[in-house]
């Protein structure tokens, strides 16, 4: 599966537009709670709604079986997160869910889990949300500034509260490392 032509550039523009609306500079980490509130989305930790032991039981049976979910209840949108995740992973999950909303993905697919039907998105839309979520957290100008400072994926992950995997993915796929190398040579 590949992203539509022009998707990455559009995602960068959209990420920049949102950062401007939130009055963030190119070097600021993205405050996901502020972004969610800005978009009319409420972030809720699942353990505020159900007993935490149920989440722990599912996690024992299968790690990462449940990460996050967006619910629409009476025209209100809620992103419900799993409190058992690390802060970095939580950021990826929330950014992914918000990306679905920004991309206006319809919940057109029906996925049935033990008799309960859930409306969800198409697989290619999942890929788009993952890519856009990464762009929201680490847009190219932010990565460029960090790379020029000499920061690698580990430092970027620590500074901006994301997982090392996410920092490495963005660092490598945006080509900032090559660009910085060319400048210094």
């Amino acid at each position: 599966m590949t992203l539509p032509r022009g998707f990455k550039a559009q995602a960068e523009r959209e990420a920049q537009r949102l950062r401007t609306e939130l009055a963030l500079t190119a070097g600021d980490p993205l405050p996901l709670d502020r972004l969610a509130a800005h978009l009319g989305i409420t972030l809720v930790s699942a353990d505020q709604l159900v007993n935490r032991s149920r989440l722990e039981e599912i996690e024992r049976l299968q790690a990462f079986a449940f990460s996050a979910a967006t619910f629409e209840v009476q025209q209100r949108r809620f992103v419900v997160t799993n409190p058992l995740r690390t802060p970095g992973r939580l950021a990826s999950d929330v950014a992914h869910e918000i990306a679905h909303q920004l991309l206006r993905h319809d919940l057109s697919e029906i996925r049935v889990i033990e008799g309960v039907p859930f409306r969800t998105c198409k697989p290619d839309e999942e890929e788009q949300a993952t890519a856009f979520g990464g762009t929201l957290l680490l847009p190219r100008p932010l990565l460029m500034r960090a790379a020029l400072r000499g920061d690698g994926p580990a430092e970027i992950a620590a500074t901006f509260g994301v997982t090392i995997e996410m920092a490495r993915f963005r660092y490598n796929t945006t080509g900032v490392a090559r660009q910085v190398q060319r400048r210094s040579s």
Partner: protein
């Protein structure tokens, strides 16, 4: 270990004979016993005994069910525990209507069955579809889907309560 001796059934479902007798009597309506028995393909005495509440042999029981237009399984579960399907009820009433010939009742029942099969499909699903995008593993280990399904449904209910509470403030 305690339990029934080998070869003994654990539980015997009883045939609901009184209901069979009542329905046969209703279906016969104003028809003579002899004519109804002939139509149903059972003997006059069987028809008479069934209406009086006796249990028929299996062959007669099957023929009477076909004549009533009802599945034999209908008579094997306690009526109170099994709600009658609206379609079965409608067809039972048609079959019992003395103003309708057997062919007329069958023709109307056929139309009803067809319409029900077509139109019932468009009805809303028995469980409401939960609007929810889910970031979860695509392949789940045994025991996980059940717990996750219940968890998400409960989260949805809790959010509905939250919205109602906040609207009341």
């Amino acid at each position: 270990m305690t339990g029934p001796p080998d070869g003994q059934p654990v539980e015997v479902e009883m045939l609901d004979v009184s209901q069979l007798g009542r329905l046969v009597r209703e279906r016969r309506g104003g028809q003579s016993l002899r004519l109804a028995a002939s139509e149903a393909g059972v003997s006059f005495s069987t028809m008479s005994r069934v209406e009086a509440g006796a249990q028929p042999d299996l062959a007669s029981f099957t023929r009477l069910c076909a004549w009533l237009g009802m599945p034999p399984s209908r008579f094997f579960t306690p009526v109170a525990a099994r709600p009658a399907e609206p379609l079965d009820q409608a067809i039972a009433h048609l079959s019992a209507d003395p103003r309708l010939s057997t062919d007329a009742a069958k023709a109307i029942s056929g139309v009803l069955r067809e319409m029900y099969a077509n139109l019932a499909k468009t009805a809303a699903p028995s469980k409401p579809v939960v609007a929810c995008h889910l970031r979860a593993a695509s392949v789940m280990r045994p025991g996980v889907p059940q717990r996750l399904g219940a968890l998400l449904a409960d989260i949805h209910s809790a959010l509905e309560d939250l919205v109602v509470r906040e609207a009341g403030r």
